[in-house]
């Protein structure tokens, strides 16, 4: 690339349009510089720099929320209000993950700065992932995310459970990437076939492929490619039948990483799916609709039924996350008949973010050094030892269960209204059954925390609960709880924005 190309790009301000991703990358590199430059005694401050830097980026991003919306980098990326919303989403996630890691990492004998470095890189890649409008861009961003997560998942390398999780995630991730890539190649290949009408060499571009699919609405190879691409994405969101890796990986991964996987990685997968379904695969609704419908029903049922009998809370939250994926899929399925579904997906993701991180925060504090052995029994008597942590946990779980006045209720209500409008009555029945089942295990968890006898409190729990969350994490948890309640009955301008899109 010579100088004039760079100049032309600068004139079009294409680089400026991806400034949040660039600043996250720079911040990540800066952390490494600090690690080599600063004396060892100062290293404990580096995570603070990371969090402060992310907060700064978040602030600037919120102030410049309404940037010009357009395609940049020759259509590789698309800047949209939804993209901005997701940038905020990933930034909040990475800030919270950094906060959790700051609490969790000192318990282990592992290098700390790299962790924060990788979290930033992954967050930036997730932003690019949801903005991409080109399959090559999609794949590159996805691999950046996944490779970063491979490292993060097996970060507590002295723990055999963590290593097992890392290996499983690696194998499964590779498999899903292979499926996705195979699907992309099939689509690209068939779109370039001279024998077909509407053939195009621009099939890597979403718009180009869409044109081809419209011209050939019942091509077998294209259908096979679409199914393969959907399968690849289904791995990321943990939808049935590609959810098998979730319990083991969630249990073994460090709790902050589990949170990152459960919230940010899943959200990224859903936005990719949403963009693909609405912008690219729309002509194949006859295929995508039934596939996603079946997937949604099976995901809701599997997630809730499998979570019923879990005693390890990390597995429990992982499987409950599977059922949430099912509920979001319900909205994605309805998007072709009810455009408001897009707003519902975003609202659901935000409600899920707020509630999940509250729960993961409490889990991190209580887990202490034995990160992969968090049993339901460890929560017995939490309310007596630390009413604050128990309250945060109860509100978080209540929101996940979809109980008013929490945000999770509004999210479920919107999804149900949309599914009803779109006429998915069967799925709605499955979803209602799922909610009732889910209340059983969420409430079981709350029950353990609140209603246990004094004798059931383990000394470990008591000690960690009394140590508390610390000031920073405590404020974050309180803010999440408050957000969850306020968003439950007052949606404000956000509500109108969501209803409008």
């Amino acid at each position: 690339m010579d100088f004039s190309t760079l100049r032309s790009l600068a004139a079009g301000n294409a680089w400026g349009s991806v400034w949040p991703e660039l600043s996250l990358g720079c911040l990540a590199l800066f952390l490494l510089v600090l690690e080599t430059g600063l004396p060892r005694s100062m290293h404990a401050r580096i995570p603070v720099v990371s969090i402060a830097g992310q907060l700064g980026i978040l602030g600037v991003l919120l102030l410049n929320f309404d940037t010009p919306y357009r395609a940049t980098f020759n259509g590789l990326l698309m800047l949209s209000p939804q993209g901005q919303l997701m940038r905020v989403f990933f930034l909040i996630s990475s800030i919270l993950v950094s906060l959790l890691a700051r609490r969790s990492l000192p318990w282990q004998r592992v290098p700390r700065v790299e962790f924060h470095h990788i979290v930033l890189v992954v967050a930036a890649a997730m932003m690019l992932l949801v903005e991409s409008r080109n399959f090559v861009m999609l794949f590159v961003a996805l691999e950046t995310v996944t490779v970063g997560l491979y490292i993060l998942v097996s970060y507590y390398r002295s723990n055999p459970k963590t290593l097992e999780a890392g290996l499983k995630y690696l194998v499964m991730g590779a498999l899903s990437s292979a499926l996705l890539l195979f699907g992309i190649v099939l689509l690209y290949g068939v779109a370039g076939s001279p024998a077909l009408s509407g053939r195009t060499l621009e099939a890597m571009q979403y718009g180009g492929l869409r044109g081809f699919l419209e011209a050939n609405p019942d091509n077998f190879l294209a259908a096979a490619g679409i199914v393969l691409v959907l399968s690849g994405v289904a791995f990321k969101i943990g939808a049935f039948p590609f959810q098998i890796w979730i319990p083991d990986v969630y249990q073994g991964a460090p709790t902050p990483v589990t949170a990152f996987l459960a919230v940010a990685s899943k959200a990224a997968g859903f936005i990719v799916l949403l963009v693909l379904v609405t912008e690219v695969f729309a002509p194949y609704d006859w295929l995508v609709g039934p596939v996603l419908t079946l997937m949604a029903a099976a995901t809701i049922l599997f997630g809730n039924l499998a979570a019923l009998k879990q005693n390890n809370v990390k597995r429990l939250i992982g499987l409950s996350g599977v059922s949430h994926a099912g509920f979001i899929l319900l909205a994605v399925v309805s998007v072709s008949r009810e455009p408001m579904a897009v707003g519902a997906v975003y609202f659901y993701l935000y409600a899920y973010l707020i509630a999940s991180f509250a729960v993961f925060g409490v889990m991190t504090v209580l887990a202490g050094p034995d990160d992969s052995e968090q049993e339901l029994g460890d929560y017995a008597g939490l309310a007596r030892e630390s009413p604050f942590l128990a309250g945060v946990l109860a509100c978080g779980l209540g929101s996940l269960a979809g109980i008013p006045p929490f945000a999770g209720f509004m999210a479920k209500l919107l999804v149900f209204v949309i599914a009803f409008k779109a006429g998915h009555f069967g799925l709605l029945g499955v979803a209602v059954a799922g909610v009732v089942v889910s209340v059983y295990y969420y409430f079981g968890w709350i029950r353990t925390a609140y209603f246990s006898d004094e004798a059931a409190i383990s000394p470990k729990t008591a000690e960690r609960a009394r140590a508390g969350a610390g000031l920073t994490l405590g404020i974050a948890l309180a803010a999440l709880t408050l957000g969850s309640i306020v968003l439950g009955f007052y949606q404000g301008p956000l509500g109108n924005w969501l209803a409008g899109h």
């Binding site: 209540g398 109980i403 008013p404 006045p405 209720f409 209500l413 149900f416 209204v417 009803f420 409008k421 709605l428 209602v432 909610v435 009732v436 209340v439 059983y440 409430f443 079981g444 029950r447 609140y450 209603f451 009955f489 007052y490 949606q491 404000g492 301008p493 956000l494 509500g495 109108n496 209803a499 409008g500």
Partner: protein, 505 residues
């Protein structure tokens, strides 16, 4: 919109504000004092709006005191719209007064972790006031859940025997009921095409364009099952006696007395006027299930109970059968009777739960076999219990009479056979009610009770317990002797009198 002077909003906000203050760490002494205010304000507001209702300016469908607050989802027809009509006013008053009584009773109860207990009770109180003051169906449901969640927690922490199991069972059952009714409400919302949860808009929209017959039947079925589970319609009643048996008294008073009426209220205020055809389709099966299941079968089960609190729990399931019969009868007379019965039953069952716990403090057991002869030691308590029993049987002079009588008349036109079943039920309820009074208060002292009395001589009902009981008895007698104070408003709301006529009186 006059924000600071909206009485309905104040009735919701006051208990909630006190609850928030307690949650933020108010010291216990102040928490209790503020809790008095938190429970008294809704009761005073309730009496105030009841007093002013007849002369207040009414808008469409007889609603008064209307206010509307935006919550940011106006485009979806979701907003906090408060108002009262003739049907919701009696229940609003019921919620205010029973909440006040339950609050007073809780404050004197010396429960462990008092602050949390009061906090949850205040949240529940706020939810109850909001439920009956909401004109927007979304917030109607929202406030109901807000009141429901504290119930589970209170049963789980302060409950008696089997509290953990009871809390779980209530949670799962009631969530199922709530979800089914939510889907039913969503169905109305979507099928009307009005894109609004506002009950008044829904009514107008459906009046000009009623739903198809099949749709109405389906939606009404959903609502009937959903609300039915919440009101312990047979055979989905098993959570009720178990839950009430385990619940702490104030929670049982509020749930059995007020919150449970949500389902019936939903059927009356939403399902019947919006889906008249669906209601007619379901009325026969509903009447048979309610008559044979709730009234007769559960009536007999109630007779067999030896545990006082379980008996009150079962009797409340049974009396809900009458309410369902009134709804099934499908006439203005029947529906009016249901509203009166809901109010009367709310007061009387709350009173019975309060008195059962008061008795327990003297006998240290709920087993009726191990009681007897308490009347000599606690004559006022005995008098109150007998009054509550008479009320719950439906003797004239108590409010319940004006609930059951119109229902029987309405039912006679609907089905002679079921009227006979319902009348048999009255006899059954007289048998178990009077037998309980006799076993607990009269007759010879049982050996077990004599032992307890020797260690801890039972005193008569204390003033702190008397005051909430008197509030409830006074309400029962007041309505019993002056039913017109409520029935006028109910009739107008049910007959759908034009707004102008009502306003000119």
């Amino acid at each position: 919109m006059n924000v600071p002077l909206d009485p309905l909003l104040i009735s919701v906000a006051a208990p909630l504000a006190v609850a928030v203050a307690i949650a933020l760490g108010l010291p216990k002494r102040w928490a209790v004092k503020l809790a008095y205010a938190g429970f008294a304000v809704p009761a005073l507001v309730a009496i105030d709006v009841w007093w002013r209702f007849a002369s207040a300016a009414k808008e469409v469908h007889g609603y008064a005191f209307l206010t509307n607050y935006s919550t940011g989802l106006d485009r979806l027809g979701i907003g906090l719209k408060l108002g009262l009509n003739g049907i919701s006013l009696p229940l609003f008053v019921l919620a205010g007064l029973v909440g006040f009584a339950a609050g007073l009773y809780a404050i004197q109860s010396k429960a462990e972790r008092m602050k949390t207990y009061l906090l949850l009770l205040l949240v529940m109180q706020a939810g109850l006031m909001g439920t009956f003051a909401s004109v927007n169906v979304f917030f109607f449901y929202f406030f109901h859940e807000l009141a429901l969640i504290p119930t589970f927690i209170m049963v789980g922490i302060w409950g008696g025997r089997d509290r953990s199991y009871a809390a779980m069972m209530m949670t799962v059952y009631l969530t199922l009921g709530a979800m089914l009714s939510l889907v039913g409400l969503i169905a109305i919302y979507v099928k009307t095409g009005a894109t609004s949860f506002d009950l008044m808009i829904l009514r107008d929209a459906l009046a000009s364009r009623p739903l198809g017959e099949v749709t109405q039947t389906h939606i009404f079925g959903l609502l009937l099952f959903g609300f039915g589970i919440l009101v312990s319609l047979w055979p989905f009643h098993s959570w009720a006696p178990l839950g009430y048996g385990a619940a702490p008294s104030s929670a049982a008073m509020l749930h059995a007395g007020v919150l449970k009426k949500f389902g019936l209220y939903g059927l009356l205020q939403i399902a019947l006027p919006l889906l008249p055809f669906g209601a007619a389709q379901w009325s026969h099966s509903l009447a048979v299930v309610a008559g044979v299941g709730n009234v007769l079968a559960i009536g007999l089960v109630t007779m067999a109970q030896r545990d006082l609190k379980q008996m009150v729990g079962y009797s409340s399931v049974m009396h809900m059968g009458y309410a369902f019969l009134g709804i099934a009868a499908g006439s203005v007379l029947g529906a009016g009777g249901v509203v009166m019965l809901m109010v009367a039953h709310g007061f009387s069952v709350a009173l019975l739960f309060l008195l059962s716990t008061t008795i327990y403090h003297r006998t240290h057991t709920f087993e009726m076999d191990q009681m007897g002869g308490l009347a000599q030691k606690a004559p006022v308590l005995a008098g109150l219990f007998v009054a509550a029993t008479f009320a719950s049987i439906g003797l004239p002079g108590f409010a319940n009479f004006w609930g059951e009588l119109p229902i029987f008349f309405a039912l006679w036109n609907f089905s002679h056979g079921l009227t006979l079943v319902a009348l048999t039920g009255t006899v059954v309820s007289a048998v178990y009610g009077l037998r309980a009074a006799a076993r607990v208060f009269f007759g010879p002292e049982s050996e077990a009770f004599a032992r307890v009395a020797a260690v801890d001589p039972p005193a008569d009902i204390a003033w702190s317990e008397r005051l909430p009981a008197f509030v409830l008895v006074a309400a029962l007698l007041f309505i019993g002797f002056w039913p017109k104070s409520f029935s006028d408003g109910i009739n107008r709301a049910l007959m759908g009198e034009p707004a102008a006529v009502v306003a000119s009186r």
